[in-house]
Each structure stands twice: as structure tokens, then as C-alpha cells.
Symmetry: C2
DNA sequence: TAACAAATGTTAGTCAATAACACTTGGAGG
DNA sequence: CCTCCAAGTGTTATTGACTAACATTTGTTA
């Protein structure tokens, strides 16, 4: 049994990753040009030069092809590293801002395009919120690890509220076509939460 | 052109309402006994003695059959009637509690069963959140009507956070099997929000 | 009671998703 | 280098949500 701490790098694995990337690119291109609902999985697969079965072997659902890479582990780490005397809401605020800066710096335009697509497509919005339900619980766990004394209801409410603040900031960012900068919007959203 | 301020009461309308009710009852019964995913629309329709087309003429999707009657208008009214000098978050808190008491008093057990079904079924959870996206905006509008001076971002964040608090309370209520009372949980959730 | 319209049924589709089975090809050991 | 295994893919068939077109039943209303 191999330890396999890092992914395989053989030709086979490279091909697989390439197919996955191609599917994702073609899907995004088609969604943006003719809309999510008007694009069939069959079309995406054809555009990527594979069969629809290959599509579903790489992505469990049509929605999954739009999903962001999972930022949760990064944010969780950032939360756990906040100073233990820091208020729970502040810790969430700072951790989210730190994580966001990293993503935002490299990806800004792509992030805007994809976020707009998601927020304007009901099926994709629903998918995102479903993910956030899980994220909320991870946040709550991370907060509990920091402060084992804390009230369970309180940290769950604050986790949910923090994600709500982030979502609102994202919505306004998309509304402004990216004219406003995202991190300041998130700051304002958290300040609104604090009264 | 008739004003039609109240629904028609003829035999036809009564039959239609009856069919709708029967479909909803049979659907809920089947969902609870064999699970949402394991129940097909065809089965529900057969149990209600209609064809699957009639099902879809009464409910746009399979998920819609579980949806609560729309409480939004009531809550909106309650928000708008809060004293104008009251803080936005407090207004949301009081309005939600008032609306909740009304629903809770009459419906408690049915509410618990249906809420549990929804929270344990991913497809239904997603549907609820999609609705809450709309509800959030209605709340924000109602708050803006009360206080035209208020910051748009702030009232949207607070609306989203209020719904997050309500959701968390509902989740804990379901977790406790209804042993805890819901209104106090909502109160605690809002207090957590206020720091 | 005749005529209209609302409600439902029948039938035939589309599309997402899954399953079963066959095929191609990279990778590891001899 | 060759062989064999398994990962990756293709083909085909099926289920289930949902839609469209058209026919049929059944209140309503004049």
C-alpha cells in the first residue's frame, strides 16, 4: 500500500485531468453563450470530444461543473489560527477576508463571471446554498475548537450570519459589475452585522 | 371584467381544491413512509387517483408539493407595522416572532414533521433556500419602506442574517425533536446575533 | 338544453442521471 | 519487448422529472 501523499503524475492521470479541464471550459463557454438551461450535458460532452458518460464520471451532476474548487479547508485553517481571545464574529470576518484576498487577487475577472453565472441561475444558486449548509457547520466546528466554552447555538448563528454577509457582499459586487471592490464590500457587510 | 376579490366557490373550484389537498396529503404520507427520493410523482398521482399531468398542473415541481403556504405577506405586514424608531434588527426579530407564534400555536406538530422532512432532504432544503433568497429581498424592501434613510447594504445583510438566525433555530428545534419550544430558540438566535 | 370553458387524461416526447457491459490503452512485472 | 490488469472510456438501455399537443369529460351559463 502506497502512501500516495501527492497525486499521480503519469500520462494516464495527466490525460484525465486534461479531459476534466476541457469539459469544464466547454461547459462554461456554452453556459455563458447560450445559458445554463439551454445547454444539455450531451452538448457539453460533444464539445469536449467525449461521451456523456465521461462527463458524469468527472462531475456528479450538471451543476457540479460550475462549482468553485473547495475553499473550505483554507478558510477553516484561517479560522483556527485566529487568536483565541478574538471574538467569534471578528474571527470569522478576518478569516474570510484573508481567504478572499488570496482568491480575489489571482482570479478577479473569472470569479466575477462565474459568480454572476451562479447568482443568475436558480439551479446553481440552490447548489451553492446546499454547499453552504455544510460550510456553516464546518465554521461552527472550527469556532468550537477555538473556544470550547462557547454556546453551540451562538456559534452556529454567527457562522450562518457570516455566510449571509458574504453572500450579500457577493450579490452587490455582481450587481455593480465588479466596479466596487469585493473586500471592502465584505467589510461593510460585517460592520452592518455588528450594529 | 369581474373584480374577483375572493376565490370562486362553485363545485368546480371546490373539486379542484380537493384534488390539490388530496395530492398534498398523499405526497406527504408517501414521503414520510418511504422517503422523498424513493417516491415517484407517478406514485403520488396514483395514490391521489389522478394522472401525473394533473399533479404538475397543481404543483410546478415535485418539491413544490411540500412547500409551506406562503407566510411572506404576513411577515412583511408585521415588519411594516413595527414602530419606525425601532432598530432594523429588532423589527425583524419581533415581526418574525409574532408571525411564528401564530403559525406555531395552531400547527406545531405538523410544522415539526414537515420541517424535519425538509431539513433532511437535500432537494427540499435547496428549494427552501431558493425561496428565502426572494424572502430576504422582500424583508429588505419592507425595512427600506420603514426607514428610507437606511443603508441598502445594511438592511440586506440584516435581512439575510435574520433568516439565518431563524434557520438555525429551526434546525436546533428539529434536532431536539420538538422538545424545546421554538419561539425561545428564535429569541436566543437573535440575541446571539446582537452580541 | 346547447354551447363554452375549465379540468383532466392520453400519448409522446426531452433531458438529467444511472447501470451493465464491451472496448481501448497506460502502466507494472516478467 | 511482451503480457496482463485495471483505469478510463464508449454504447446502449432504463428510470424519473417535466413539457407539449391533442382529445375527452364535466361544471357552468345563457
Amino acid at each position: 500500500m502506497k502512501p500516495s501523499p501527492n497525486p499521480p503524475t503519469g500520462l494516464r492521470a495527466r490525460k484525465k485531468a486534461q479531459v476534466r479541464r476541457t469539459i469544464q471550459e466547454q461547459a462554461l463557454r456554452l453556459f455563458l453563450s447560450k445559458g445554463y438551461e439551454n445547454t444539455t450535458v450531451e452538448e457539453i460532452a460533444a464539445a469536449a470530444g467525449v461521451s456523456h458518460m465521461t462527463f458524469f464520471r468527472h462531475f456528479p451532476t450538471k451543476e457540479a461543473v460550475v462549482e468553485t474548487d473547495d475553499y473550505d479547508p483554507m478558510i477553516i485553517q484561517l479560522i483556527e489560527r485566529r487568536p483565541p481571545d478574538e471574538d467569534a464574529l471578528t474571527a470569522l470576518h478576518r478569516a474570510l477576508i484573508q481567504g478572499l484576498e488570496a482568491v480575489y487577487a489571482g482570479d478577479k475577472d473569472a470569479l466575477l463571471v462565474r459568480t454572476r453565472l451562479i447568482l443568475t441561475t436558480p439551479a446553481l444558486r440552490a447548489r451553492v446554498w446546499e454547499n453552504q449548509y455544510a460550510t456553516e457547520r464546518l465554521f461552527a466546528e472550527a469556532l468550537a475548537a477555538r473556544q470550547p466554552e462557547a454556546d453551540a447555538l451562538r456559534i452556529r448563528v454567527l457562522s450562518a450570519a457570516a455566510l449571509a454577509a458574504l453572500n450579500t457582499a457577493l450579490a452587490l459586487w455582481v450587481d455593480s459589475q465588479g466596479a466596487e471592490d469585493l473586500p471592502p464590500l465584505v467589510d461593510r457587510a460585517f460592520r452592518a452585522l455588528r450594529d
